[in-house]
Symmetry: C2
Subunit: 376 residues, 2 copies
């Protein structure tokens, strides 16, 4: 009998952040295809589009005009999914199986750059630092509002990921409750910190010197001789295709040198190195299939100070958070062939067709000079 | 201050099967759109396509030829995500955060009908009964294999849902482990059955006369005077847009008259009424936007007898399962405008733009004569 080879034999991997499995089917990469084929995205966008509601000076649906901004620019979403208080008190629906909860908050749109035709992969590192600074400002300001418990910063990039406007932008939805996924992650981080986890002495530690799941994981990936899942690493940050990745070229980006609960804890150097690694991985993404690579990106970090229910002590319950970014891109085989997470994935469990190690090795092999800038 | 109105004011609803919230933003239905617009699917498919690997008599990638089948037809997937045993023994990856698990099993393709141009919505009820019978056969036969613990029956319909071939077909993936989502649902059902849930005397009961979460929910929706979330109901089955629906026109289809763990427990009458309601709801789906409505569908039921770890007693631990179907369709506003579950949904929690009650009312208002059959 042959030896087990994770690049060949199906198996399941465990995601310790969500407590869920992913089915890995590395033998399944070559299948016939009679279904949807998207057109490759064109790279011929104008620098300014008079019809774009995000370009400087243009009118938005709300009737407001954007200022002639020159760097990042944030405004409240004209079609916010949550609304500011006060809202009428939620009425119970009259049956224990019809559970309902109030929610309020605010949705912000964060425009990364005045130019309509750019993306994070096409920005200079200094320009990405401006975006990081803006994330800090939003997290701080929304977090000061009494009602806000969580600020979810994210980006949908590309029509394939439901982005309704190609002008480079992300969003920040701030809510009076901690959403499902960050809540589940916090639970896992809290559990790990009080467990008897075998955390190496050299790994950074969480609050009160306790082990941190993500510090341990980052340390493991950063120190592993072979670095099989590493896409890029700098002095502060590491980008890996995580052991438990669902999307073909998913990336987990996190600090590996010290425990960092939120963007407010970043030093200026760490902001610079964060901008550096965001640039490196988004360029590699574009280079992988020579296209503007679509993805959804999300930043998980500490809930806001208002969310804190414990008191006293040098740390609060939410300092177990270790900030990190998830990049979840749909493409699988080319700029037009994506992975669909559908029937089995929606009904049973996620399934992937190549191993995280194979994906990381392909991303590592990509140049960090953008294909549109390459000498020809 | 105005009264709380769930059709107007944002709120969160709780899914008791998964223990998760969905964010409901009913005020958010009218937003501008500059992104992806799909072409309406054409309805001009041939009855037989010589290039289709599912049509009768045609060759498959494996080199095998399909028989000249005249009803349903099942064969093992030529690109199965899981493989039959024996597989080499899984080697631990050497770190507690790199958890790996063996998996084996089989993937079957279930062709619903010889005709290339039909779908469940275009089949006669008797023809859908054949599909139900085939699900029973697969569940029974795969469930007899020692290694199989769960049989996940599902259908991806439409290119938008990653279906690689329009010939009407579904799949059945049988695995040596219970996948994440059915496992989580079983946990919730088991918890509910031992809780002090206030189950009305008239509601059907689970094993040992204990309350069943889904019997109680079906009973609640079936008996509610207003039936606000009901799309269609017959003597045995009810189709609702559930209180906790994520997808715009999501449907939960389940038995409301008695507790039914799996397809093997269905009477011939219940198979007939199941085929009837599947026909009614898929026709309504097609009529909603006058197109072949895409969706992913999945059947959740009892794990196979092999999965049973308890013994003795009239019931085993998995009899808490109450069989049901989830229909998860992406369309939101027309045959070309879908809901994207992306950034916020992938990173934080699902968000929907109309209430389940609004969706149910629109589906109820659709004719149950298919638009292609309608008199003109
Ligand atoms: O097996 P198919 O139809 O080729 O593939 C489809 O369904 C599978 C199960 O949901 C998914 O993993 C694939 O991404 C999807 O394209
Ligand atoms: O807010 P946008 O960009 O218009 O909308 C996009 O992102 C939202 C948050 O992930 C989703 O709910 C929408 O379905 C998607 O189209």
């Amino acid at each position: 009998a042959p030896d087990f080879n994770p690049d060949v034999h199906p198996h399941r991997r465990f995601n310790p952040l969500l407590g869920e499995y992913v089915l890995v089917s590395p033998h399944r990469a070559n299948r016939p295809w009679q279904g949807q084929v998207e057109e490759p995205q064109k790279s011929d966008k104008p620098q300014y589009d008079p019809k774009c509601y995000l370009c400087p000076g243009n009118a938005r649906t709300s009737g407001h005009n954007n200022p002639e901004y020159t760097s990042v620019y944030t405004f409240p979403n004209d079609f916010a999914a949550v609304l500011p208080p006060p809202l009428p008190e939620v009425q119970p629906a009259g049956h224990p199986l019809l559970k309902i909860q109030p929610v309020d908050g605010a949705c912000d749109v964060v425009v990364f750059h005045p130019r309509h035709d750019l993306t994070l992969a096409r920005l200079k590192t200094e320009e990405i630092v401006n975006v990081v600074d803006e994330w800090c400002r939003i997290y701080r300001e929304r977090g000061c509002q009494d009602n806000i418990k969580y600020v979810q910063i994210f980006e949908n990039k590309g029509a394939m990921m439901g982005c309704s406007n190609p002008h480079p932008h992300g969003q920040a939805w701030s809510t009076s409750s901690i959403p499902n996924i960050p809540a589940k992650e916090l639970e896992s981080l809290a559990q790990y910190s009080t467990s008897e986890a075998v955390s190496p002495a050299t790994a950074p530690k969480g609050p009160n010197g306790r082990p941190c799941l993500l510090c341990d994981y980052a340390h493991l990936e950063a120190s592993e001789a072979s670095s099989v899942r590493t896409v890029f690493k700098n002095e502060d940050w590491i980008a890996v295709v995580p052991w438990w990745a669902i999307w073909p070229f998913e990336i987990l980006l996190l600090p590996h040198r010290r425990h960092i609960p939120s963007v407010l804890d970043l030093t200026p150097d760490e902001k610079g190195s964060l901008a550096n690694i965001i640039s490196k991985i988004t360029i590699r993404y574009d280079n992988l299939f020579s296209c503007s690579f679509p993805y959804s990106m999300g930043l998980h970090q500490r809930p806001t100070p208002n969310s804190n229910t414990s008191s006293g002590g040098p740390h609060d319950e939410h300092d177990v958070a270790h900030m990190h970014f998830h990049f979840e891109p749909p493409l699988l085989r080319s700029s037009t062939v994506r992975k669909f997470l559908v029937g089995y994935e929606l009904m049973a469990e996620p399934q992937r067709d190549l191993t995280p190690e194979q994906a990381a090795s392909r991303l590592r092999a990509c140049s960090d000079v953008h294909y549109l800038d390459g000498a020809s």
